[in-house]
Symmetry: C2
Subunit: 350 residues, 2 copies
DNA sequence: TTTTAGCACTTAAGGCGGTTGAGTGCTATT
DNA sequence: AATAGCACTCAACCGCCTTAAGTGCTAAAA
């Protein structure tokens, strides 16, 4: 049945079985698996001593190893590999669970949300991290383009593709275009080529260059009606950019896992931070929240130094630094202060 | 000079000075500050015993406290508050540093990047977390609007405001509009009202309703030239959505700070994950990277289970789960598998 | 009255030795 | 080929002790 050589340990069926049971066990409770345990679990009636021989073979093959001499065995990557490739029996999901998932997906609308909730689903179901690459269709179909003139002959182009994704890009043009020129250019493109694959457009353009007509103008009242609707709902949601969160792990007073976890969850949640920044927006100059003052438990051991920044003398936003209460305020305060001023004036020059 | 009452400890100048020195010291090395240390640091020639009395007063006032009976003192939030409000001597930044900052800001172009690099600057200079609220100008000036018809009478509106921000919103209209109707509506709005403050537009609309002319059509060749430029650079950057990263802290084998830190930095960096997902995109069906197989050090103790998902029979993206090598593969694999299928078909139905 | 010296007391932290329990490898036997 | 027996290893835990830092209190000195 199985060929065996005395010089090189054999990976016969029995050994494979033990490997399987060992890995399953290790996955279950995370402890190195010893011979006695394995003997009981395996369902084959063998003494621990025998198991030890087998495990020793497995170790020689690099499929398991021990953290130290008198510990049980732990699977190595190669061990997992074999397990996954040929030993694994997959439990299909319950029909009920599948149903739930289907309903979950059915209830979402636009692609962005779908992707987001797929990621959340993965994370929730597995209690691990879920990740979803944003769809990148092989054939990107062009939907809409828009141009916004910037200073010089730079133009902001906004390209909308079939998947509802919006791509912003700043391009440098050879000559300078006026705003109305750009608008008309966009109209032309949009009317002629929406729905065509991106790669094809260049070819089509040349060929179809002079075929266009325009039959607009009289639907303006419709435009009005829609616009009314849009400007009604202009909710400016607010969002922030965070950097260097992991720096916080350097501080002893924050770096127990619970604390860090709370902090990061708070960052991910966003709403609390947004409230906090909102509060900081009203005051001008540098503002400091120390410990509980922020009002959020996760920041109990943190201070937040903020400053609002102004564009053309209007408060436009807030920026700041989050760190342990024990921070070098004398240094952080001027940094936040000057950054706010520089950011403000940098944004003004646009 | 200073009024004192025997019943309530006094916050005289000397006590304030000690508080200041204590906090400065504590900020420097994070250890509870004892009477002897404080005596040396304070620059006033007093014995530790005297200092102890003062510290005891400060404690009674709630400005400091000891972690345990025989430890030194640590500032409380109120202590920091007083320190920050009236004891702090701020070090202005070196002119050199300011120069560097200015140059840093000068080199960035669009607002989004400015905000991002401001956040990074804050984080780098302070070695803590930087946060910047995205500018929310008091008067949002309207730049550009665009409509994309979706199914039913839902319309995707894309509103661009003066700060270069793009706001997507799906609205429900009363009646159904065709694509060309929508395009014309957008054109009308864009031509007439770009540069006006958002709030004012509704009023202006009614009043200016019938004044519009159109003088387009002959700039089409320009449109062509620009478009050429845009479609040239269509670089579809690729991005992913991550969820439940903090779940990873639940696993003992990952949850030492160094490890978690590396992981989170990798998530934030994005490029590595993107490469990995890219690799997973080519294979179809579920793919598994175990430990070092991923090729990235930060994932040495992690496995990644991925599956590509298809839209209309074309591979559109990848999704997956990241967890410890010791994961319940038999459960995770079908979850990833089915999620990929469901996401694919959910996206197709659009 | 303020400051200081002295003293007894508290506490975290670290080192040391012993014990326990799980597990191993080897050898001789069945 | 499988097993039993045995000596050995090692992490983890426990209790014990010591050390270092610091405290509060009281009584004496300035």
């Amino acid at each position: 049945m199985t060929t065996k050589k005395s010089s090189q340990p054999a990976v016969n069926e029995r050994a494979q079985h033990f490997l399987k049971v060992l890995i399953e066990r290790y996955i279950r409770d995370g402890q190195p698996v010893g011979s006695r345990t394995l003997a009981k679990d395996a369902g084959i009636d063998l003494s621990p001593a025998t198991i030890r021989n087998v495990m020793s073979d497995l170790e020689e093959l690099g499929l398991v190893n021990s953290p130290h001499t008198s510990a049980g065995r732990v699977p190595t990557s190669s061990g997992y590999r074999i397990f996954v490739d040929s030993l694994l029996t997959i439990k299909p999901l319950q029909q009920v669970e599948i149903g739930q998932l289907e309903r979950e997906f059915a209830s979402r609308a636009d692609p962005r949300n779908l992707v987001k909730s797929a990621s959340n689903l993965l994370s929730n179901m597995t209690h691990m991290a879920g990740v979803v690459l944003i769809p990148r269709p092989k054939q990107v179909v062009y939907r809409q383009i828009e141009f916004i003139p910037l200073s010089g002959n730079r133009v902001l182009t906004i390209l909308v593709t079939s998947d509802g994704e919006v791509h912003n890009k700043i391009i440098e043009t050879q000559s300078t275009y006026s705003q109305s020129q750009l608008i008309q250019a966009a109209n032309f493109l949009n009317e002629s080529y929406s729905g065509k694959p991106l790669e094809a457009i260049r070819g089509l353009l040349v060929e179809e260059m002079e075929k266009t007509k325009q039959q607009m103008n009289d639907l303006m009242s419709d435009a009005l009606s829609i616009a009314n609707n849009v400007f009604e709902i202009d909710g400016n949601e607010g969002d922030y950019i965070l950097a260097g969160q992991t720096n916080l792990m350097d501080f002893d007073e924050l770096s127990n896992l619970d604390n860090i976890r709370n902090l990061f969850d708070t960052f991910a949640e966003k709403s609390q931070i947004l409230h906090l920044l909102d509060r900081a927006m009203t005051a001008d100059g540098v503002q400091i929240f120390i410990g509980e003052e922020s009002g959020y438990d996760s920041f109990d051991n943190c201070s937040i130094v903020t400053s609002s920044y102004e564009i053309d003398n209007d408060v436009a936003g807030v920026l700041g630094v989050i760190g342990p209460t024990r921070m070098a305020y004398d240094r952080v305060i001027p940094i936040v202060d000057i950054t706010a001023k520089l950011l403000g004036s940098a944004l003004k020059h646009q």
